[in-house]
């Protein structure tokens, strides 16, 4: 994909679509909801008014959007409703791959739950492959089968969702999990608190990029050699020199 020409890439784009974080800036304020969803349909060759209307109606129903409101403009809706419009537009291309970039980060919890349920329903119904980008590990654990944890531009751990959450391999993953404030009072672990801030991506530490904040007993390689992702358990890998020995 990185090598094909931009014209060809445009041919591929309908097969992969994106849901954005901010439903305020990702919808054209000059277009009505209908027009926003009609555009990708038109581009893909649906021309007749009836066919367009029918498809727009189907798409809006999929995301639980009130059809009688479809002639309105984005600014007339709340964040949750706007996010529904964005999802309907994404589905208009019948994509195989959806990249959802923090789709619920800007929403309140009660609305967040609505959108998560819609996304989960669609994922099952259309067998969508989804890359769900999020900073909220509780949300991620709820919607995904596999989880990849990133730190300073690299994946430091990747594996089946439950395995990553129950038995994290990388010390950063463990710190992330411990830092999440739990509602169940007894469930809070003694947090492995990370000190300091993440280093600047302009000057990534040598060796393991996490060693400046790591709380494990480090070995000399931690500071000299960059650890590679390797499988510690079946289909569960981590980039840590110490991962296997724990």
């Amino acid at each position: 994909m990185l090598e094909i020409a931009s014209g060809e890439l445009r041919q591929l784009r309908p097969r992969m679509q994106m849901i954005f974080q901010d439903p305020f800036s990702s919808l054209n304020p000059h277009k009505t909801v209908e027009q926003i969803i009609a555009l990708p349909l038109r581009i893909r060759g649906t021309r007749s008014r009836e066919a367009l209307d029918k498809r727009i109606k189907e798409l809006l129903q999929l995301v639980g959007f009130d059809l009688s409101q479809a002639h309105r403009f984005p600014h007339q809706f709340s964040g949750g409703q706007r996010q529904r419009i964005g999802i309907a537009r994404t589905l208009a291309c019948e994509p195989e791959l959806v990249i959802a970039d923090e789709p619920v980060a800007s929403l309140d919890v009660s609305i967040q739950a609505q959108i998560l349920e819609i996304l989960r329903g669609l994922q099952q119904r259309f067998r969508l492959t989804t890359v769900f980008i999020s900073h909220d590990i509780s949300v991620v654990s709820h919607v995904s089968q596999r989880i990849a944890i990133m730190y300073l531009g690299k994946i430091v751990e990747i594996g089946p969702a439950q395995s990553v959450i129950r038995q994290p391999l990388h010390p950063y993953t463990r710190a992330l999990l411990d830092a999440v404030p739990r509602i169940e009072r007894g469930a809070q672990k003694e947090a492995a608190l990370l000190s300091g801030d993440p280093p600047s991506p302009m000057s990534i530490p040598p060796g393991c990029r996490f060693h400046t904040r790591c709380y494990l007993d480090q070995i000399p390689q931690c500071r000299s050699t960059e650890p590679q992702l390797r499988a510690v358990r079946p289909s569960h890998s981590a980039a840590c020199h110490l991962a296997a020995s724990q």
């Binding site: 309140d108 830092a179 404030p181």
Partner: protein, 334 residues
């Protein structure tokens, strides 16, 4: 209980006049904060939790106005204080930490300037002494190389560091009450844990009372003693954190708890609350949660529930726990 009441808010009403009509952002809120305790004020955007905080500080700006109510702080009504006296209390005995330190710190002044300003205004220290105090404060906030940091401008600091500076300023005059409005919402989860631990530590060391405004039920659970849940300008439920989270009474609190994905519990489904929050300029006549409530009854649409006390220390504004009576407009007596 030996705890003494530090702050008592009674029937606070803060409204905003807009061209669309009057917005009842805070509509009859009553709450108490005891010395040394943390009260969490929980709710979603627009429920009035921040305006409640600003009202206590008397920082509500036009078109907002405190219409009525009583805010008694250490037995004195803040709403009756002359401005000059209020200025001494604000930042002195009551301090506030905001969500976004980048927009609340002055970009044109150094850290040293901003901490010293507070110390000077409140007559705590000035000159060389203020500088030494600033360094001590930054060190107490866990900022390494504090002396060098004093010369920095806010943009030169990281998000976590800025929030520590904000807390240093808030703590500088040894306040009795700290109002923390979403203090960690702009931060990563690992930094959030650091900042919340810092607040907990300050609270313990200095016997500070905290009003913690947040939307995160995990933070409520881990860092507060009591909680008040707000919905559309009302406190709908109040109580000790354990009992409130384990046995939520109000249908909104219950709904909220079912919305949150729990870490490592894929067996617990999330159940959204249908619909969305009401338009604050066009509120329903009866209970404000009625349009979204799974237990809605006939009279919920007609009249506003009062605040009932089904158990000692628990209060809830819902007809499931009391009679309709003559309430057209609920008046709190908690």
């Amino acid at each position: 209980m030996m705890e003494r009441t530090l702050l008592e808010v009674k029937n606070l009403q803060t409204h905003f006049s807009t061209y669309r009509g009057t917005l009842r952002a805070v509509d009859g809120v009553s709450l108490t904060v005891r010395r040394g305790e943390t009260l969490a004020l929980v709710g979603e955007s627009g429920c009035g939790k921040s305006v409640t905080g600003l009202s206590i500080m008397r920082l509500v700006r036009r078109p907002g106005r405190i219409i009525q109510g009583e805010i008694s702080f250490d037995k004195e009504d803040l709403l009756k204080k002359p401005r000059a006296e209020m200025r001494q209390i604000r930042g002195g005995r009551i301090a506030m930490v905001f969500q976004d330190p980048l927009s609340t710190l002055n970009p044109a002044f150094t850290v040293q300037n901003q901490i010293s300003e507070s110390l000077k205004i409140h007559g705590v220290a000035s000159g060389r002494e203020a500088k030494e105090r600033s360094i001590q404060l930054l060190e107490a906030m866990g900022i390494p190389a504090a002396r060098e940091r004093l010369r920095n401008y806010p943009h030169e600091l990281s998000g976590g560091m800025r929030q520590r500076v904000m807390i240093a300023i808030a703590a500088s005059c040894e306040p009795e009450l700290l109002i923390a409005d979403e203090p960690t919402t702009a931060l990563d989860v690992t930094l959030q844990a650091q900042i919340m631990d810092l607040l907990a530590q300050i609270k313990k060391e200095r016997g500070l009372a905290i009003i913690l405004i947040t939307h995160d039920l995990g933070i409520v659970s881990q860092f507060s003693d009591r909680a008040a849940v707000m919905y559309a300008g009302h406190i709908v439920e109040q109580g000790a954190v354990e009992s409130l989270l384990e046995e939520p009474l109000h249908p909104y609190t219950r709904g909220l708890l079912q919305c949150v994905p729990r870490l490592g519990r894929p067996d617990l489904p999330i159940t959204p609350i249908e619909g969305s929050v009401p338009d604050m300029a066009a509120l329903p006549t009866g209970c404000r949660f009625a349009p979204r409530c799974p237990h809605v009854m006939e009279h919920c649409w007609q009249s506003m529930p009062l605040t009932y006390e089904p158990a000692p220390g628990r209060s809830v504004r819902c007809f499931l726990y009391g009679e309709a009576g003559d309430s057209v407009r609920g008046v709190d007596t908690t």
